[in-house]
């Protein structure tokens, strides 16, 4: 493949990675406070449904994205209520959110199935697309990709360069230490869950409003779960979120590319790639991520099923 073809593959990979990237950032922020939220899938679904519905009704994709994000946040508040307010096991609570988001999005999204929207304006014709050399590549990317990249930057700077980010990180390492300093880990965890909800709702909206521009029941197809797994691969580090999300994006792009090249492999088998590749990468890096101090210490018990 020549350079243009590589860039083409990369741009498709970025487009496909964006929803997962946004979901990863959200779950990363949540897990950094010591909470695991397996309901990401459900939050993405309500974000996708709500975002699509609002865009369809109002014609404004940005409004749709905003409402999608808020819908995700609203659903995540149930997780906060269950596991922080009532003390429900985090894994069970997250799965309950998954089911609820699945059900609500299917129910309210039913009338929207089969509808189409036009989504964001293409950037290929704007100033970005007219830049020399990189213009054609940059123009192929959509507004949500740039939004995601900006959010990566903001998350990284927040976590590693601000006082609030430091407190945020400390909450995930030792709630006890925070209490001894007179701070309230619960408040931070609520913020963690809600922020995660905001990002994952946004991720779902990016999927339906920007990428597919349609709505179908269960359209996220496990991307939320993958995001949870990939957060571990990215060592809870926003700077690593983009390359790791690209692993997912490239698997999907590769599957598409192989299919369109007329390869003799069934599209369904190729369809296992976006799950298999991240899963294998997760397995390879799992041991390493538990070694030393990569995993926020408060999560260790949760992942072993004990919290």
């Amino acid at each position: 493949m020549n350079i243009a073809a590589w860039f083409g593959l990369l741009s498709i990979a970025l487009l496909m990675a964006t929803p997962v990237l946004l979901a990863m950032l959200g779950e990363m922020l949540t897990q950094r406070t010591g909470i695991v939220n397996l309901g990401v899938e459900g939050q993405m679904l309500v974000g996708a449904a709500a975002g699509f519905a609002v865009t369809y009704a109002s014609g404004s994709p940005w409004l749709g994205m905003l409402v999608g994000a808020l819908a995700g946040m609203a659903l995540s508040s149930v997780h906060a209520l269950l596991c922080l307010g009532l003390g429900v096991n985090q894994i069970a609570s997250g799965l309950a959110i998954f089911f609820l988001g699945n059900g609500l999005s299917a129910f309210y999204g039913a009338p929207l199935v089969g509808q189409q929207i036009s989504g964001f304006h293409s950037l290929a014709h704007g100033w970005l697309g007219h830049l020399p050399i990189v213009g054609s590549f940059l123009g192929q990317l959509t507004s949500t990709v740039y939004l995601a990249l900006i959010l990566v930057l903001l998350c990284g700077l927040f976590l590693y360069r601000t006082q609030w980010g430091l407190v945020w990180r400390a909450t995930g390492e030792s709630a006890d230490a925070l209490r001894m300093l007179g701070k309230k880990p619960v408040a931070l965890r609520i913020a963690g869950i809600l922020t995660g909800g905001l990002f994952t709702g946004l991720a779902g909206a990016a999927l339906s409003v920007d990428y597919t521009r349609t709505w179908v029941e269960q359209m996220t197809a496990g991307r939320g779960l993958l995001a949870v797994g990939l957060v571990i691969v990215a060592r809870w580090n926003p700077w690593l979120a983009l390359p790791v999300a690209l692993i997912y994006g490239l698997s999907e792009a590769l599957a598409l590319r192989l299919q369109s090249m007329g390869a003799d492999i069934s599209p369904y088998l190729l369809g296992t790639l976006p799950y298999l590749v991240p899963l294998v990468v997760l397995l390879l890096s799992y041991r390493a991520s538990q070694r030393g101090t990569s995993m926020p210490q408060e999560l260790v018990g949760v992942f072993r099923g004990m919290a």
Partner: protein
């Protein structure tokens, strides 16, 4: 400023942790708060620090009554506390830890504006670079960072909660010097401890607590050690623990040969130890040098990468076979609640653990309960309920339960890892009695302890663990605090 605690009382369920305690701490004074485990010293100071709320009583600062509702309030009033379980976060850097605790920390961490947090670092934690992760620091260094954290808050009163229990002798001396320095600069220090040498080294006054009450206060300099011990412990009806005779034969009962194993954070290398029947081999070392891993390796609880453990010449554990449930072996691990029992399961099950696989497919639970009742009676475990979840037992009773399981039958090899940590003197004695009774009957004992005094008193030989290797083995005759201390901190003989 003078601090006064007046009639402080605090109850936790059935336990009266503090019973109308009144105490004064003067400016620039080092007060040693002495008492054995469970006396209520920590609780009292945690009330002062706002971590607990007293049920009744008052706190006066400089004559004015204050309400300390949280550690934040305490810090604002200039009271700081260095806990036994450090609250520095290992995954973060030293700088991050200091910033975290700093009330006026800048919102944005640029290169220039974080300098003020590091001012006292060079003075009180020499050799600790700000960008290092705390997980890479030694225990002594972590404690230093913890202290700097507290000093950064302009603390005028500093509470140290059992700071020397985890340090080597050299580091202990360094700490004493720091405490004296703090007092010289006009700060007050409350030094919670159960060791007399801490009192001797740096205290101006000593206050003794026992079972929640303040029983005595005295000038530290003119004090009588024996009297203090009596005050700490109550009636002097403590029979001295029977010292066991040194082993008759030199033929090893237990051989640890060239053991090598590792976990995520620690590794052991080249461990070679022989223990004769009836011998008590003590293991000393600064905490974090591989003690619990050694205990686990010797009992077959972790994978061995190399080497083996022989019992009377035959292989007990090796790289290929591990038998942690072997009936000839007894194991009293560190942190019994986490490592020796399944906390949610009933006492009778936890007591029957070693024989679980020999039970029939459908066991008679009534018979197991009866057996458990008998054992709990014999070892005075309270409450005597075989159906109670073991996690509900208090520390001392839990350890008695573990001992009931591990030491009630004759064993040929016993590993005890910090078996008396957190226990009061009576419970400690009970543990030693059981352990040395087994030794007298011919068991080989591997005893890991943080208490150098006890090791020197009872062990036949003492090995020192340093960075996962045996730095040296001294006989009872050769061993003293200086030689052991040097091995513990330098890994080689002086």
């Amino acid at each position: 400023m003078k601090v006064e605690l007046i009639d402080i009382s605090k109850r936790f369920g059935p336990v009266q942790a503090n019973d109308a305690v009144s105490l004064e701490i003067g400016e620039g004074e080092v007060l040693a708060l002495l008492g054995e485990n469970g006396a209520g010293k920590s609780t009292l100071m945690k009330v002062l620090y706002g971590y607990y709320r007293a049920d009744s009583g008052q706190v006066l600062l400089g004559g004015r009554e204050v309400d300390i509702a949280s550690p934040r309030d305490a810090m604002a009033l200039g009271i700081g506390m260095v806990f036994q379980q450090f609250s520095v976060i290992p995954a973060l850097t030293v700088l991050d830890n200091l910033l975290l605790a700093y009330p006026d920390a800048p919102l944005w961490h640029g290169r220039g504006n974080t300098a003020k947090v590091l001012r006292l670092l060079a003075e009180f934690a020499p050799g600790v670079a700000p960008q290092r992760l705390v997980s890479e620091l030694s225990v002594g260094q972590r404690q230093q960072v913890e202290l700097v954290k507290v000093l950064n808050l302009d603390a005028r009163l500093i509470i140290l909660d059992e700071p020397t229990s985890v340090l080597a002798p050299e580091e202990v001396q360094r700490l004493h010097a720091v405490v004296r320095k703090l007092a010289d600069t006009g700060r007050s220090v409350v030094f919670i401890t159960h060791k007399l040498e801490d009192v001797r080294a740096c205290a101006h006054r000593v206050a003794v607590m026992r079972v929640g009450k303040l029983v005595a206060q005295a000038d530290a300099r003119g004090m009588d050690a024996a009297k203090l011990v009596t005050l700490m412990v109550g009636d002097a009806s403590l029979k001295p623990v029977a010292q066991t005779a040194p082993p008759a034969s030199a033929v090893a009962r237990i051989s640890l040969r060239n053991l090598r194993c590792s976990t995520e954070s620690l590794s052991l290398e080249g461990i070679d130890l022989d223990i004769a029947p009836g011998e008590v081999l003590g293991v000393a070392g600064v905490s974090g040098n591989g003690q619990d891993l050694l205990a686990d390796a010797a009992t077959g609880m972790v994978n061995l990468q190399e080497g083996d453990v022989l019992l009377d010449g035959e292989v007990l554990h090796s790289r290929d076979t591990r038998q942690p449930h072997d009936a000839r072996q007894g194991y009293i691990p560190e942190y019994p609640l986490k490592n020796a029992v399944a906390a949610e399961m009933r006492n009778s099950l936890n007591l029957a653990l070693r024989g679980l696989l020999r039970l029939p497919l459908f066991p008679r639970w009534a018979k197991l309960d009866a057996r458990a009742d008998a054992l709990m009676e014999r070892y005075d475990v309270r409450p005597r309920q075989s159906g109670l979840a073991s996690g509900r037992l208090s520390g001392g009773n839990l350890q008695k339960l573990v001992i009931a399981r591990e030491l009630s039958e004759p064993r040929q090899f016993i590993v005890a890892c910090y078996p008396t940590m957190g226990l009061d003197l009576h419970a400690t004695q009970a543990v030693y009695d059981e352990l040395f009774r087994q030794a007298a009957a011919g068991a080989a004992i591997l005893w890991i302890s943080e208490d150098l005094d006890d090791l020197l008193r009872y062990a036949h030989r003492i090995a020192v663990l340093y960075h996962g290797r045996i730095a040296g083995v001294l006989t009872a005759g050769e061993a003293d605090r200086v030689r052991l201390g040097h091995l513990m901190t330098h890994g080689e003989a002086a």
